[in-house]
């Protein structure tokens, strides 16, 4: 797709960011009272709210695994989250995202401690502006910690991409729509394992490697913000 706007000029991007600069991220935990764990996250123009329920007995019964818990992540975009009204309800795209997020989160949780149970993660996108799956997964990681679920690591996600031949971190809305590639990844920051890797568009092998390295670096930055958000909240309420 070609457009007449310049996405990259004088080493600066459309919104004035450097190629390896993230958008602003704000994370708040424990925002919902009915849920066992919750998180509200703002990532640039994305607004995401996540509620975690469980571990509780998995229903329907045939989904139960006698050896471990199952993770049910449900990614949903609100009808008002995009410019044109989005037809509500699950579609092909949101079902795919739900599946990949469930699998990514499952690798970070001690699932074997809760046989036959399910951990339900509801990810609600209130406002979308490119990179909602990364925002959703990052928020889900924080909400799981807030729910007191035993975890190996706090999963974190970040994207890199290519616009006008330049590899950049964390694509914005125009960059996503008119750029040439998008590479969202999720990692386990402690071990560096990759939990999710998807790619849209075309990149050469070299470009892919630079983008991957850049995204991993971005993940670590976001991870620090996640950890700070959790400790700050509980240090304040419980620390003294």
């Amino acid at each position: 797709m070609k457009s007449d706007i310049k996405l990259f000029e004088n080493g600066k991007r459309l919104d004035g960011r450097k190629p390896d600069e993230l958008r602003n991220i704000k994370i708040e935990t424990g925002v919902l009272h009915r849920a066992e764990g919750s998180c509200y996250l703002e990532w640039g123009g994305n607004k995401v709210i996540v509620a975690v329920y469980g571990p509780r007995e998995a229903i329907p019964r045939h989904t139960q695994n006698p050896l471990r818990a199952i993770v049910n992540a449900r990614y949903n975009m609100a009808a008002f989250s995009v410019d044109d009204r989005k037809r509500p309800g699950p579609d092909r795209r949101s079902r795919e995202i739900s599946k990949v997020i469930s699998e990514a989160l499952g690798h970070a949780i001690f699932l074997e401690r809760f046989p036959r149970a399910s951990i339900d993660v509801n990810i609600e996108v209130l406002e979308a502006e490119a990179g909602t799956r990364c925002a959703g997964l990052t928020a889900a990681g924080v909400a799981l910690v807030d729910a007191g679920i035993p975890m190996r690591d706090i999963p974190v996600a970040c994207a890199a991409g290519k616009i006008e031949g330049q590899v950049v971190l964390d694509l914005g809305k125009e960059e996503d729509n008119f750029g040439s590639a998008d590479l969202p990844i999720a990692i386990s920051p402690r071990t560096g394992e990759i939990l999710l890797l998807q790619m849209d568009g075309h990149m050469t092998g070299d470009e892919f490697n630079t983008a991957l390295d850049m995204a991993i670096k971005g993940c670590h930055t976001v991870s620090e913000i996640q950890k700070k958000a959790i400790t700050e909240k509980y240090q304040k309420t419980e620390g003294d």
């Binding site: 007191g148 035993p150 190996r152």
Partner: protein, 225 residues
């Protein structure tokens, strides 16, 4: 324990190495390093590194005293919600009454509260509870409140110091279930006081010398009355 601020730890935080410490509750070991697996408070006791959870579901263990709410009466057993990830089974053999087959509803029905003991937790985490122990019965009257299961030890206090304090001053009957449910019975004012105090204990559960602080508070309040 020293008087320094209690440290909050989050999952995947490095706590030590297996060379000089041993991994306790709420931790896991990978490559000889001990990490926290929970959001909680760091607690180092001699050799062991423990993490006391701040939040989370009640994890049933055998011989725990819990408060359950009957969910479904079946022909020879009941399913009881004890705030665990799974419903607990209460078999007719485990109640003090002589229940005819199919007449379980006459004794316990949906919504009834019982004090019970966890009898068995098997590998698949199937739970069984019993009413055949001292002081276990169906609850009549009173009030049931929910607290965070991880804060139950603080509400009970060292050797029951906190709870006996509350009973002594408010003259209420109180039963604290390990699963984070508290049953209170007494006069209206007493109940209100107990709830306020328990909420305060929950809020300030991490401060030191809480028992004496609560005692002073109760002393002052009940002198006025």
């Amino acid at each position: 324990m020293t008087d320094e601020k209690r440290e909050i730890v989050i999952p995947s935080q490095l706590l030590g190495e297996t060379k000089d410490k041993r991994a306790g509750d709420g931790t896991f070991v990978e490559d000889g390093k001990i990490y926290s697996s929970l959001l909680g408070v760091l607690n180092i006791r001699q050799q062991f590194i423990n993490v006391v959870p701040l939040k989370g579901r009640y994890e049933p263990s055998e011989r725990d005293f819990v408060i359950g709410i009957v969910d479904i009466p079946m022909s020879s057993s009941w399913l009881v919600d004890i705030n665990a990830p799974y419903p607990a089974l209460l078999h007719v053999n485990e109640v003090p009454w002589d229940v005819e087959f199919g007449e379980t509803e006459k004794y316990l029905n949906n919504g009834d509260c019982i004090m019970a003991k966890v009898l068995q937790v098997d590998q698949e985490k199937k739970l069984q509870i019993t009413l055949n122990d001292r002081n276990l019965y169906k609850i009549k009257g009173g009030l049931l409140i929910d607290v965070e299961p991880s804060k139950v030890p603080r509400i009970i206090g060292k050797k029951g110091s906190m709870i006996s304090l509350l009973k002594q001053y408010t003259k209420c009957r109180i039963f604290v279930g390990q699963n984070g449910r508290v049953w209170i019975d007494g006069d209206e004012q007493g109940i209100k006081k107990v709830i306020d105090t328990i909420k305060q204990i929950e809020r300030e559960s991490l401060s030191y010398g809480l028992t004496s602080k609560i005692e002073e508070m109760l002393k002052k309040e009940f002198k006025d009355v």
